[in-house]
Symmetry: C2
Subunit: 321 residues, 2 copies
């Protein structure tokens, strides 16, 4: 990739969300407290080596979670932040390029996590990722109802499977259709997990019939899809600037499936993001004015989750070339 | 492998369970009804091609489930039988040798299942496995509480991961320790799923504090371990008679880890099975005399689940050379 091409990609426009999710976004007064807690938690469970990566990650997670649940109490925020940090560190350390070289090794690493998620005892020689996951599950169990606990641990299994799916296809993206990718992306971008965690952090529980209604499924899907598109647009720009765009990225897949150039694919993905944002905004509007308290709370949670993804792509982690 | 060696393996003794789980085992009066239903269900969802394999599988599943839950009402039995059939057919068709040749293909196949397990809409071009899984999930949701549904779908994810784990290690069992294997075997032998399904089939719900108690965890682990050992002893004999014992089998792993011959490993595994059976029998005895109705029901379910695995290894599917 030439320097001119890289400059061109860096200037590709992000979707216009000024009418759907305009900033500035509310943030929790506990953001700094979360950041300090994360650094301490990483001393107890050293998931990351390089101090630079550690500081950047703690910063983005603390401020991201503060925007995801701006009105939450500290305990729930800390649990959510630790979980999000764990997921990101796990993906950075064991997923992506590291995993593509040896999917079998990743399968072995995930086996330990599946054991804990299935209520297995932690092994005597637990590594920091096992130890931290066990700590998270104990705290989650203490705070959540049985169904909430099972819903979140189901989502975590789906993320781990998604990381595994990616590892098997980075080297052979030709087997991946856009439809496959869009089906798995809500998991790998962690959006589905955040939605399940919302009920635990904010202490509400959707009635089952509402959970399976269009009024809930539509905005959940739209927010999850929006999160995936935004993350891919941000990642593609960042990775292309380094000269190694991820082959499993919406932009790359559109260029291949629609046989078009990168700016055209980027434009199409941006439009898609705007459509998801409009759909999410419409359905969230219905939810937040609902007479049902849990539905209104869920609508508010979906809104702030969407805002946190909009906010994320402007963070330094995505700006670093 | 020589003919003498094969004959020698066929005569290796199974564990002596005459004092822990002696037959004959109670069976449901609905066994024939289940068998006929399974054949009909497979006409609707053609999961298996060869008529011989189909008949044998329907027979073992019908009579196995009839022994797993001898006192259950028909609706619950049919749901359990269909689920067990689906799992076995999925493993036979997409797992094991077929998967070892292309783990990435298996990952893609499982992705469709994960989508349905995570409440995704069924695709327009659903194949029989997707269609059948969707049917199962709709029926499960109608019968189960929210937590029961999530617990079973968590177990199904763990089985799918276990099948994937196996596919990555059939060709390189040297990366698998006995401890790893024993941690994943309760999932791949379907025992954990049957325990979760028991509550749905027999319509009881364990209190959460009981679920995490030693009184429940100990017999569950012992029954799951017993199921794995029995299945491995039966499979090893059958596969060795064909000249291709599975490298991911307790016997093979013991011969490698303890540097011993097959009869010694077989003997060790049989003793292990007897120990698990004795542990299971002890703890089940405590549960079935409990004052708590769900605990007593759970004890009865664990007992009949254990019996069904003891019964299974004498079935034709395991006798065929």
């Amino acid at each position: 990739m030439t320097t001119t091409e890289r400059t061109g990609i860096a200037s590709l426009p992000m979707p216009d969300l000024s009418s759907t999710f305009p900033g500035p976004f509310p943030t929790s007064p506990h953001a700094d407290h979360i950041g300090k807690h994360l650094v301490q938690w990483l001393l107890r469970f050293p998931l990351l080596g390089p101090p630079d990566a550690l500081r950047t990650l703690c910063d983005i997670v603390a401020h991201g979670v503060a925007r995801t649940f701006p009105a939450a109490e500290p305990d729930g925020l800390l649990l959510c932040a630790d979980l999000f940090l764990w997921l990101t560190a796990f993906d950075d350390t064991h997923g992506e390029a590291a995993a593509a070289g040896s999917p079998a090794r990743l399968v072995r690493r995930i086996r330990g996590c599946v054991h804990l998620l299935a209520d297995g005892e932690p092994p005597g020689d637990a590594d920091p990722f096992d130890g931290a996951l066990h700590d998270l599950l104990v705290r989650l169990r203490a705070r959540a109802t049985a169904a909430q606990y099972l819903r979140v641990t189901g989502c975590l299994r789906d993320i781990l499977f998604g990381i595994l799916w990616e590892a098997h296809h980075l080297a052979e993206p030709e087997h991946v259709t856009l439809r496959d990718y869009r089906a798995i992306r809500p998991h790998t971008v962690f959006a589905r997990t955040l939605m399940a965690v919302a009920e635990v952090v904010l202490r509400y529980e959707l009635p089952e019939e509402a959970r399976n209604s269009e009024a809930v499924r539509q905005p959940e899907s739209a927010v999850a899809d929006l999160a995936g598109v935004l993350n891919d647009l941000g990642s593609y720009t960042r990775e292309a600037a380094r000269g190694v765009p991820n082959s499993l990225n919406l932009i790359s897949l559109i260029t291949r499936e629609q046989n078009c150039d990168v700016p055209t694919a980027y434009e199409a993905a941006s439009r898609l993001g705007e459509e998801h944002a409009a759909t999410a905004r419409h359905w969230i509007g219905e939810l937040v004015t609902s007479d049902s308290a849990p539905l209104a709370l869920h609508g508010g949670a979906l809104e702030s989750i969407a805002c946190s993804y909009v906010w994320h792509i402007d963070h330094a982690r995505y700006k670093k070339a």
